[in-house]
């Protein structure tokens, strides 16, 4: 007996179950997309270990030099290493560099008029 004929015995209950799951997943993902969209307007993008310093500077509308200085790296806008890579080179955890960058951004926003 093939798999198909074995499944066809429970065809209708399986179809009803799959139909309900499809409706539920539509509402779940639709709601989640809407919730994220509402937060986009006022929340700053969190710094991720994959981001490079110029990338973080762009996302937070600041100059990369300030951020490079905050993590003790010679400022170079062409330095596109990720934060994780820089952390590995400095032998510190990426979370520490992210905290330093975050502090520098907070200090910058305090200076802004």
């Amino acid at each position: 007996m093939g798999l198909w004929s074995a499944l066809s015995r429970y065809r209708t209950p399986l179809l009803i179950l799959a139909f309900c799951l499809a409706i539920a997943s539509t509402f779940f993902f639709g709601y989640r997309a809407g919730r994220t969209a509402r937060h986009v307007r006022w929340q700053n993008e969190p710094i991720q270990p994959w981001m490079s310093v110029p990338f973080v500077a762009h996302v937070h509308h600041t100059h990369s030099e300030v951020l490079f200085q905050a993590i003790h790296v010679p400022p170079n806008p062409r330095d596109r290493r990720s934060i994780r890579e820089i952390a590995r080179a400095q032998k510190v955890p990426a979370s520490q560099l992210i905290r330093q960058l975050q502090d520098a951004l907070t200090a910058q926003s305090g200076k802004a008029p």
């Binding site: 093939g2 798999l3 198909w4 004929s5 065809r11 209708t12 209950p13 179809l15 009803i16 799959a18 139909f19 499809a22 409706i23 539920a24 997943s25 539509t26 509402f27 993902f29 639709g30 989640r32 997309a33 994220t36 969209a37 937060h39 986009v40 929340q43 993008e45 969190p46 991720q48 270990p49 994959w50 981001m51 490079s52 110029p54 990338f55 762009h58 996302v59 937070h60 509308h61 596109r80 290493r81 990720s82 994780r84 890579e85």
Partner: protein, 200 residues
């Protein structure tokens, strides 16, 4: 994996973009939509050229899709001959083949950019089902170019909100998949076999 891929893109640019989209198009689950949005952000930062990025992403994805199609064409028939009995009799397989041919163009086009999770499966199914290579390539190229341009452009516009935009698009894709699945299942339940419901 996601972080490594995005870090490679931010560091190496076009070569990383090409390799990643090619591998993803073959079927390895990688965050291609987010990757294209981050590419758009890099374009906005002046690290990449817009047209070059769209071209690289399209060509890489088409190359991966062609690999999937050829795998389906050469390996698919053998697999169906060996395991075909599990999904039904020869009539049922012929029926599936016919359906793939009828819906081929639209299926290929929309799975390139709207329901991207289905893309690699449609590549294999198109190859195994004997869907015309020329038509497949045409719809594939159109879909991938449109999808790449769309997501890279979104990345340019929302260049400072890449993670959030990626998350929204990911959820929307699954919501659309849910709507499609509900429509197909609903049609099967209420129109094709309405008696089955009334007897349950």
């Amino acid at each position: 994996m996601r972080d490594q891929v995005l870090a490679a893109l931010a560091h190496y640019g076009s070569p990383a973009l090409f390799v990643t989209v090619l591998i993803a198009a073959i079927g390895v689950p990688l965050p291609v939509t987010l990757l294209l949005i981050v590419t758009g952000s890099l374009v906005a930062q002046g690290a990449m050229n817009l047209w070059w990025a769209i071209a690289i992403a399209s060509v890489g994805q088409v190359a991966g899709d062609q690999t999937g199609y050829l795998l389906g064409r050469w390996g698919g028939k053998k697999l169906i001959a060996r395991f075909g009995g599990m999904i039904g009799h020869a009539d049922r397989i012929r029926q599936l083949d016919e359906r793939a041919k009828n819906w081929g163009g639209a299926g290929v086009f929309f799975s390139r950019w709207l329901v991207t999770t289905l893309g690699p499966w449609i590549n294999l199914a198109s190859g195994a089902g004997g869907y015309s290579w020329l038509k497949f390539t045409l719809w594939d190229f159109l879909g991938e170019t449109f999808g790449s341009a769309l997501y890279i452009w979104l990345g340019v516009v929302f260049s400072d909100r890449v993670e959030e935009v990626g998350a929204i698009l990911g959820d929307l894709t699954w919501a659309i998949m849910g709507v499609l699945a509900a429509a197909i299942l609903g049609w099967k339940l209420f129109y094709r076999h309405p008696r089955a419901i009334s007897t349950t």
